[in-house]
Symmetry: C2
DNA sequence: CCGAATTCGATTGTGCGCAATATATTTTTT
DNA sequence: AAAAAATATATTGCGCACAATCGAATTCGG
């Protein structure tokens, strides 16, 4: 009965489709981000900070679905590059607050051109991009809920 | 004019949607693959081999959009685990042929249950999964074409 | 106020992804 | 056939992701 790859393969292809398109996007962004000395994960961290400055590591992680094991070294590299400052919170010494430097803020204009470049090759309309983004985000939510169905208090 | 995050953010959110849903899928698969001693990338390599056995490293890489820098160590781990055999091709000593062992073949049945489990939480119909998969694959194709527009000979 | 549980972040170790480079083997050119 | 170009894999180095663990700081329960 293993002669039914159809349904099984399809679900899988959806996962693989996301897996491979994610890498394809990463490569597409890389050619524009490399001149700025940024990787894609570093770029999305800056996107978060450009939207709201002075966040804790945890707040950044909540927005990006990343944990401290990923963010701590990444943020240290952003600090070394001069884009951010990391300082312990006075009120709660457990947290580290991340704030943009003037250098980090000034990178915003150049960085905002990047998705324009990449977006050109997608061949999607404004509405199509929005609909697809929302559909994918919905799936992500369901996967998260199934992975952590603990919030039943 | 930087007061227009709307359009810029949208393209970017599409990229981030893929980036984050890909990780979410990876985590969802992990809980089922870990008992089999497999990671998701190892799993997709086996999927390729279950579909067609005895491929070269390059052929696997072409199907998965991965290069030898990623595949060589991954395949060595699969070999150590006893799932595959790596042998130099007699005809062309440059290539390494990858063949499933009996152990690797026998893993198929259990592994095919995995996407069923994950698929349950998606809440999508067969047709919706198919349509979304194709749409995403189309985007991946466009990104690849734009990254390597060299085939103009 | 005190001890226990929780929260936050850092650290360690493993496994990708990929650029750059190296090496060996073919294939093509001359 | 010798030299040059192309091809296939391996290696190195860096940067994520993430599980597991740790230590320090805070909060909670009594």
């Amino acid at each position: 009965m293993t002669k039914k790859p159809g349904i099984l393969a399809l679900d899988n292809q959806l996962c693989f489709a996301f897996y491979s398109v994610s890498h394809a996007f990463s490569r597409a962004y890389r050619q524009f981000l490399a001149p700025l000395g940024l990787t894609y994960p570093q770029y999305v961290v800056l996107l978060v900070l450009w939207e709201q400055d002075d966040l804790t590591v945890k707040e950044i992680g909540d927005r990006l679905f990343l944990d401290s094991g990923t963010l701590t070294p990444l943020l240290k590299r952003l600090e070394t590059a001069g884009h951010i400052r990391r300082t312990r919170d006075r009120k709660d010494e457990r947290q580290v607050r991340i704030a943009l430097t003037e250098t980090g803020r000034s990178l915003r204009e150049k960085a905002e051109e990047v998705p324009k470049q990449v977006g050109c090759v997608l061949g999607l309309s404004f509405d199509e991009v929005r609909a697809l983004t929302q559909e994918v985000a919905k799936l992500r939510g369901r996967l998260h809920d199934s992975a952590a169905p603990s919030e039943t208090s």
